[in-house]
């Protein structure tokens, strides 16, 4: 059973009287354990697609099956629930909460899941160790480098034990050496723990290292 199955997904934005068809029928199947890179020109709708896959947004048309379940017609609370249980988001700008330290940031998805504090802390520490941030747990994001922040963000995405990691240009704000370190974490997680990952990237070097790459052109996805 495919993890993600998109059929003819469309997304139209309306700005005043103008309508913009950003997605014009996207078909995509992602099997569990895949590592998929989405490439494409800026403004092509990659983030829009990621948001739909990640249940942050709903498509204008088409069908979406997640883990074999129809994902249409979900209300706001159900969407929040799926994001919390199934999805781990990683952003270009890391998006850690600056007032919380690394450990607290990583615990956050579990807080919304109602996991008791001790257990939450245990899991979060494991995840931070896993991304090599065990010695920075009490640091707050402004006290961390970009690469370190992204590691914490990865730990946060992993802490909820999601079915799917969605990373929108995770290395976009990092220099090439640090980018490679971060990419290595994704590759390792995918290889050793078979964590399904969908990653948007502009960097061909990053794309090349992913097992599968698709390209967003003209509102459609094409296999490369």
């Amino acid at each position: 059973m495919a993890l993600i199955e998109l059929r003819g997904i469309t997304k139209t934005y309306y700005i005043g009287d103008m309508s913009v068809d950003v997605l014009r029928g996207v078909d995509l199947t992602v099997e569990p354990g895949e590592l998929l890179a989405i490439m494409g020109e800026s403004g092509g709708g990659k983030s829009t697609l990621m948001n739909i896959i990640g249940f942050l947004d709903s498509p204008s048309g088409g069908g979406y099956q997640f883990e074999g379940q129809d994902a249409g017609h979900l209300d706001d609370n159900e969407l929040a629930h799926i994001r919390n249980q199934k999805i781990g988001f990683i952003f270009q700008q890391f998006n850690l909460l600056p007032r919380l330290n690394a450990l607290e940031n990583v615990m956050l998805p579990l807080v919304y899941r109602g996991v008791p504090p001790q257990q939450r802390e245990k899991v979060a520490k494991q995840m931070l160790k896993r991304v090599g941030m065990a010695d920075r747990m009490a640091h707050r994001p402004p006290e961390l480098s970009g690469g370190q922040q992204q590691r914490v963000a990865i730990a946060r995405a992993l802490s909820g034990n999601p079915s799917l990691i969605l990373a929108d240009e995770p290395t976009g704000a990092l220099d090439s050496q640090v980018s490679q370190e971060i990419l290595d974490i994704f590759l390792e997680l995918n290889r050793e723990n078979e964590i399904t990952t969908v990653m948007v990237t502009h960097d061909p070097k990053v794309g090349k290292q992913c097992r599968r790459t698709v390209r967003m052109t003209d509102g459609h996805l094409l296999e490369v």
């Binding site: 990640g54 942050l56 947004d57 706001d76 909460l97 956050l108 919304y112 946060r156």
Partner: protein, 402 residues
């Protein structure tokens, strides 16, 4: 759904990052809650204190004075000034109204008695023996005025007057002589301090009491200022009042009198104090309204400043209700913090007022509960709109915020 404890913890963390703007908004809450607490507390203290004073003397005391109310205007009014209750009328009361257990008529004059050639500004009361009994006066030295004192020149000092004399070098005033209107009064007794307020004439503590007949020597007529009386239990006050009115009209046909009972005064005072509390509470509410709007403003700014955070939380699985609860709790904590400071200030102010005015200091649990309740309610009321706005942000747009 996020557990409540977590919401509070998160909220406290956000508050720790409070800014000057937040503190400014809190001033309104602090002042509002502070004044509400102070005012409610003061109202209750005044009520408690006055009620206690009445209770010391008993609630079955009445006073009878010449009526002031129904003036007939112009010249008539002038005439009425001359209508005073006379000693003969007062004396006849006890016989005519057996339900009056004790009757004490007294006169009151302000004067400048002299002691050791120095002038003392003090009231002089002409009294009978029953005056001490009705006012529950106790002596520290000597004796009180007796009905056998007739026209003699004896004086009994109130506690305040005695202290004044002592300061002027009299030492023990007993046996000393105070001159009033050219006559020497030998001090035969000193009173213990009498609680002020209630039905008790305020002149007692600062004044000198002399035999009532002696006091008539300084007046053109034998007229008195006020009659105090104690009622037998189960007395119908309405009937007594009309009876008294008839009695005095017998002597002076257009005389009207005013009867005040302690019970009636207590009721009036309670009513007044309630009004006072309400009025001042209203003033406090206005500060609270201003403070609440300030808090709403702070929360609205917080929401717009933290759009990104809201987006991130939503992406991590926070429901709208989680976001709403988070901002609502923050707003309540903000108001509670202001409220607690306000309660402390209000109680402090009430304490100072109580000390200065000699009221019984007393903070009711209801006042405190009111303070906490009102500040929480303000937090919920003024925090609801910003919190709702936060919860309804589009997560994607919020995330995209820089």
């Amino acid at each position: 759904m996020m557990p409540f404890k977590e919401i509070v913890r998160e909220a406290l963390k956000s508050q720790a990052a409070a800014k000057q703007r937040t503190l400014l908004a809190l001033i309104g809450i602090v002042i509002g809650i502070g004044s509400v607490i102070a005012l409610v507390t003061v109202g209750e203290m005044v009520q408690l204190t006055s009620e206690q004073q009445f209770r010391q003397m008993g609630t079955n005391i009445i006073t009878i004075q010449r009526g002031w109310g129904d003036s007939q205007g112009g010249g008539g009014n002038q005439d009425r000034q001359d209508q005073m209750i006379t000693w003969e009328e007062a004396k006849g009361l006890a016989k005519k109204f057996p339900k009056l257990e004790a009757v004490a008529a007294y006169t009151s004059t302000w004067g400048q008695p002299l002691f050791a050639d120095k002038s003392l500004d003090m009231p002089v009361l002409g009294v009978t023996r029953s005056f001490a009994e009705l006012n529950k006066l106790t002596l520290t030295k000597g004796r009180f005025i007796s009905d056998l004192d007739g026209y003699s020149f004896f004086g009994v000092l109130g506690a305040g007057a005695a202290a004044k004399l002592a300061k002027m070098g009299a030492g023990d005033p007993l046996g000393k002589t105070v001159f009033f209107k050219g006559r020497g009064f030998k001090i035969v007794g000193v009173l213990a301090r009498a609680e002020e307020g209630g039905m008790r004439p305020f002149e007692i503590n600062p004044g000198m009491m002399i035999p009532i007949h002696t006091s008539f020597l300084f007046k053109k007529e034998r007229v008195i200022n006020e009659i105090m009386a104690r009622l037998a239990p189960g007395m119908d006050r309405q009937r007594l009042t009309s009876g008294l009115n008839k009695y005095f009209k017998m002597y002076q046909p257009d005389m009207s009198i005013q009867v005040r009972s302690a019970e009636q005064l207590i009721n009036e005072m309670a009513k007044q104090s309630r009004l006072f509390t309400l009025l001042l509470g209203a003033i406090g509410s206005i500060s609270l309204l201003v403070g609440g709007i300030g808090v709403m403003n702070v929360m609205l700014v917080a929401v717009s400043e933290r759009r990104k955070e809201i987006g991130v939380r939503r992406a991590l699985g926070a429901m709208q209700s989680d976001i709403r609860a988070q901002f609502l709790v923050e707003s309540v904590i903000l108001c509670l913090a202001g409220g607690l400071i306000g309660i402390a200030l209000g109680v402090g102010a009430a304490y100072v007022l109580a000390k200065v005015n000699g009221w019984i200091f007393f903070v009711s649990g209801m006042g405190l509960a009111l303070g906490v309740g009102v500040s929480s309610a303000i937090g919920v009321f003024f925090g609801y709109f910003p919190a709702r706005q936060a919860s309804r942000l589009n997560p994607i747009l919020a995330l995209r915020d820089e």
